[in-house]
């Protein structure tokens, strides 16, 4: 880096608008095709539906222009596309349920939830001007997260649906508090780890090449581990358990860069899960349904058999490479086709092509999240963005991996696609937080104090350059590469000239 050239950062709002048009076209097109496929006519409300979806997307877009002009331009369009595809598929399954005289009307409820979720996301973007504000609520977030996770266990409040006690019913409305807990936990972990990373990373004996943490530093990880296992055992929810613990281990690794935490975490979780599998019939049944799914006995067993899983596989197989086309398959033959198994439904009607495209959308979305984490300058933001991106990726992995028999099936919803209010609200909030952080990550560096010519500064945080600018204001000539570990400030950085 012999010379430093100043260049204008492209905010990307124009790109975002273009991609949004594409995303809305996907959602509305899918909706119209469902009508054509099932009833032979474009749904009469397709135009109104399209306008509604476009309105929601445009509203967020305008909020971004107003409040987060440098936010990542890809995240919102992908979210809209996934949400729109999910709505179309839920509508399609609704029509199938309706013709079979089963309970239906999921699509309209999901549409209302989408509107609320979008409003919530917009509110986050409007009122949360700086993500570092959240760091103040580190321990509040912990309490909220633990309370949310434990909420379903409260007598009279918790509900057991399909064997899993992960629901809370208030005034006739059901919630899955764990969906919100994962965001609260990500905030807590980010705040906790950014403060304690040095003790967690540096202290402790070295055994067999692994730098082990000190026993007293193990406290928090033991608490999270215990909570995860409690979720697994008491609430019978393998998926949420895996999700919460996985996110914690990942963020611990991000903060400490120590692979020993990952090893310890995996050993503890696998050990706990195996113990649970041998001690609790419902966990063991899940494993058996996974390993011997095609076995007629396991297939026929209910509950605890592999019937749902295998029917989902049948559906995906019948879709083949190109799918039956929207409205021409029988996704309704699988239980929970509109929620947990929506990826199997999409696989049946959109084929392998559609599934790969959707997975690619998730991959891009979460990798944009990681790019945001790399780009943002403060440690809390890095951890939070990395944690949120990972939580979306892990949730997708756990649910789609379960449906495709890559891992044991667990009851999780596919982010943005699946029917489920809690999941939709929580994931839109996660996306809003990612957008907020990405605005910070992509914003050109502010003019600095101490008389440094701003033109000499890298316009955006360099990948190897994640120290706050005012510590090492000029880092040309390869100086940034020397920072193996960065030294973030403990408190939110006060920047000069942030916004007028």
């Amino acid at each position: 880096m012999a010379t430093v050239e100043a260049y204008r950062v492209r905010a990307g709002r124009g790109v975002e608008l273009g991609l949004l048009v594409l995303a809305i076209a996907i959602g509305v097109g899918a909706y119209a095709l469902v009508g054509l496929g099932v009833e032979g006519v474009v749904p009469p409300d397709a135009a109104g539906y399209g306008a509604g979806l476009a309105g929601l997307a445009l509203a967020v877009h305008l909020v971004l222009r107003w409040r987060a002009p440098y936010a990542d331009p890809v995240i919102l369009p992908i979210t809209v596309a996934l949400n729109g595809l999910g709505l179309a598929m839920i509508y399609r399954i609704d029509l199938a349920y309706e013709s079979r005289e089963m309970a239906h009307g999921f699509a309209s409820r999901q549409l209302v939830t989408t509107a609320i979720a979008v409003a919530l996301a917009a509110a986050v973007l409007i009122f949360l001007r700086d993500h570092r504000t959240l760091r103040r609520f580190t321990y509040t977030a912990m309490v909220v997260a633990l309370a949310l996770v434990m909420l379903p266990l409260v007598p009279g409040l918790g509900q057991t649906i399909n064997g899993a006690r992960i629901w809370v019913s208030v005034g006739g409305q059901s919630f899955q508090p764990a969906e919100f807990a994962k965001i609260a936990l990500a905030i807590f972990f980010a705040g906790y780890l950014v403060s304690n990373r040095d003790t967690l990373a540096l202290a402790g004996p070295k055994v067999a090449g692994l730098q082990l943490p000190r026993a007293r530093d193990l406290g928090p990880i033991l608490v999270v581990w215990a909570v995860s296992l409690a979720v697994l055992v008491v609430q019978r929810d393998l998926g949420t358990s895996l999700l919460l613990f996985g996110v914690f281990v990942a963020m611990l690794y991000l903060a400490t860069e120590r692979i020993s935490w990952v090893v310890i975490g995996l050993v503890m979780f696998v050990g706990g899960a195996m113990a649970a599998a041998s001690a609790f019939a419902h966990v063991a049944a899940r494993f058996e349904a996974w390993l011997h799914a095609m076995d007629p006995v396991v297939f026929e067993r209910f509950p605890g058999g592999s019937g749902q899983l295998v029917r989902g596989l049948f559906g995906m197989a019948s879709g083949g490479l190109f799918g039956t086309g929207l409205g021409n398959g029988r996704p309704d033959l699988v239980y929970a086709a509109e929620s947990d198994f929506i990826m199997a439904s999409l696989g049946e009607e959109l084929g392998l092509t559609g599934i790969l495209a959707i997975l690619m959308l998730y991959a891009i979305l979460t990798e944009r999240g990681m790019r945001t984490a790399i780009g943002v300058r403060d440690g809390f933001g890095k951890l939070l963005a990395g944690g949120l991106a990972f939580v979306i990726a892990l949730q997708t992995f756990v649910v789609v991996g379960g449906i495709t028999r890559l891992i044991p099936l667990t009851g999780l919803t596919t982010p943005f696609l699946a029917y489920g209010g809690s999941s939709l609200l929580a994931n839109w909030v996660a996306v809003a937080l990612l957008l907020r952080i990405s605005d910070d990550a992509r914003r050109p560096a502010p003019a600095l104090v101490r008389g440094v010519d701003p033109d000499l500064l890298p316009p955006e945080a360099d990948d190897d350059y994640d120290s706050p600018p005012h510590r090492t204001p000029i880092s040309v000539g390869g100086g940034g590469g020397a920072h193996e570990r960065d030294f973030e400030d403990e408190q939110p950085t006060e920047r000069i000239g942030r916004r007028p």
């Binding site: 490479l321 190109f322 398959g329 392998l352 599934i355 991959a363 990726a393």
Partner: protein, 481 residues
């Protein structure tokens, strides 16, 4: 913190690649296996949910899917199901499908390769895919004549157009009503299936194509053809004792009724006219089993066939000693032939010795009425030379005009035929065979008829008495339409 972020990003990418791999495994690699899993009702539902194409006979659908208001969407219905059951087979939710419903399934469901562009267009335009119509070669008049001729007797009739191989009639009795099996009432369908599967004569199995019988004297056509192809002529005189002592054993061959064959020696033509067992037994031994087998295989023996439904292999046994050869030469011992095979023998002789490949599907027509495929007649083999075919024709004319097959005579039409009365098990009445073609100078139809165990005539049955009139009725039906 960027190094672990990059590593975690890589891990996430690996997770997504793993998901893509798993999806490909399910939807591509394992898809055929999953789709053919018997527990996968989806394949069936989808077939039912889409309009399955009709099976058409002369412009009328004998099997078609009618929209109904249940979870399947379409009900398969058969008009005149009993008459056409050997052609259509059945299509059942629980018991699968047979005959054309099975063999032409790809076309009927619209999944066949020839329908690729139709499917592609449906995919692009978003049209609900529909199955294609399968138009058969069956001639309704011939089919009905055959069905009525067999009546309540067990047996089969196959009629072929010799110059093309088009199958004009394909009947097996007892027939069955495919509607009983196609019903969506699973319990009723199962009970109908159980009852039919256990019924006398196994109605669900087509005698015409899936059952083999000893061909009896109709096989003498093959033996005669072997002789003519190996230097004999119709006028060659061969020995015809009253009783033929078989070498290496105490067994003998006698003639029908126990008498002689009118003269000894006898010409081959005369031996065929009166269906002389001893003459043909001796001729068989003189020719040798290899020569007869070679000739039989040219007529189609020893190989299976799809028309497009399966036709089981007719067999001329291997490694015969002299007495077995003598028995086999008159269509006994272990010689087995389907009615389809014997119709093919007659058809090859009728078509100047050229055997055309039999077929039942004339055209496949997509739902938009465009023809997606047409079956072109094809040669299966040259069975005999044209001169041999001509001599055999003349010999077969003798059978009908003044021999054992006079019951097949039609005024004004030269019918060439051969009777057969095949011994089965000890004490059971013989099978009555008749195979023929007409008109002899310009053959329009070749037919084979079998009536199992003599039909209504029992022990008194002969091919000439029982089977020939049915063949005559079918020939008349073809010639009159």
């Amino acid at each position: 913190m960027n190094t672990p972020l990059r590593r975690l990003a890589t891990v996430m990418l690996v997770m997504f690649v793993a998901l893509m791999g798993a999806s490909t495994w399910v939807q591509y690699v394992k898809a055929p296996e999953l789709n053919s899993d018997s527990r996968n009702v989806r394949t069936l539902y989808r077939e039912y949910g889409n309009a399955r194409g009709p099976i058409v006979v002369a412009g009328d659908a004998v099997a078609q899917s009618v929209k109904v208001d249940d979870s399947y969407g379409y009900q398969r219905t058969y008009s005149d199901g009993d008459t056409y059951s050997a052609v259509t087979g059945f299509y059942s939710i629980v018991h699968g499908s047979t005959q054309l419903e099975h063999a032409a399934n790809d076309a009927l469901t619209g999944r066949g390769d020839q329908l690729f562009f139709t499917r592609l267009r449906d995919l692009i335009t978003g049209r609900k895919p529909e199955g294609a119509a399968v138009e058969t070669t069956i001639l309704p008049a011939a089919q009905r004549a055959a069905r009525e001729g067999l009546g309540d007797q067990q047996g089969a009739v196959v009629a072929i157009e010799p110059s093309t191989g088009r199958i004009l009639a394909l009947v097996s009795t007892p027939g069955f009503d495919p509607n009983a099996l196609a019903t969506h009432d699973v319990a009723a369908a199962s009970s109908a299936y159980t009852q039919l599967a256990g019924a006398d004569g196994n109605p669900l199995r087509s005698n015409a194509t899936l059952e083999t019988y000893p061909p009896g004297s109709t096989f003498k056509l093959v033996t005669a053809a072997t002789a003519l192809e190996n230097g004999y002529t119709a006028d060659t005189e061969i020995p015809a004792p009253t009783v033929l002592d078989l070498p290496q054993s105490s067994a003998t061959i006698g003639n029908f009724g126990g008498g002689g064959c009118g003269s000894d020696p006898i010409t081959i033509a005369e031996a065929l006219r009166v269906s002389c067992n001893t003459a043909f037994g001796q001729l068989g031994m003189d020719l040798g089993d290899d020569a007869i087998r070679e000739q039989a295989e040219k007529f189609g023996f020893d190989s299976g066939l799809t028309i497009p439904m399966d036709v089981v292999k007719s067999v001329f046994p291997a490694d015969l000693n002299a007495p077995q050869t003598a028995q086999s030469a008159i269509g006994q011992f272990d010689v087995r032939a389907t009615p389809m095979q014997m119709a093919m023998v007659a058809a090859a002789i009728a078509n100047d010795g050229v055997l055309m490949k039999p077929y039942t599907v004339d055209r496949v027509r997509a739902a938009d009425l465009s023809v997606v495929s047409t079956t072109e007649p094809s040669v299966l083999s040259r069975a005999v030379s044209a001169s041999t075919a001509q001599q055999l024709t003349d010999m077969m004319l003798g059978v009908v005009n003044s021999g054992t097959g006079t019951a097949a005579q039609i005024s004004g039409v030269q019918v060439a035929g051969k009777t057969g009365t095949a011994q089965t098990t000890e004490g059971a009445a013989p099978h009555a065979w008749f195979t023929a073609f007409a008109p002899a100078d310009n053959p329009q139809v070749a037919v084979a008829v079998i009536v199992e165990h003599g039909g209504n005539a029992g022990n008194e049955a002969t091919g000439g008495r029982i089977a020939a009139p049915i063949a005559r009725a079918v020939i008349e039906a073809v010639l009159n339409s």
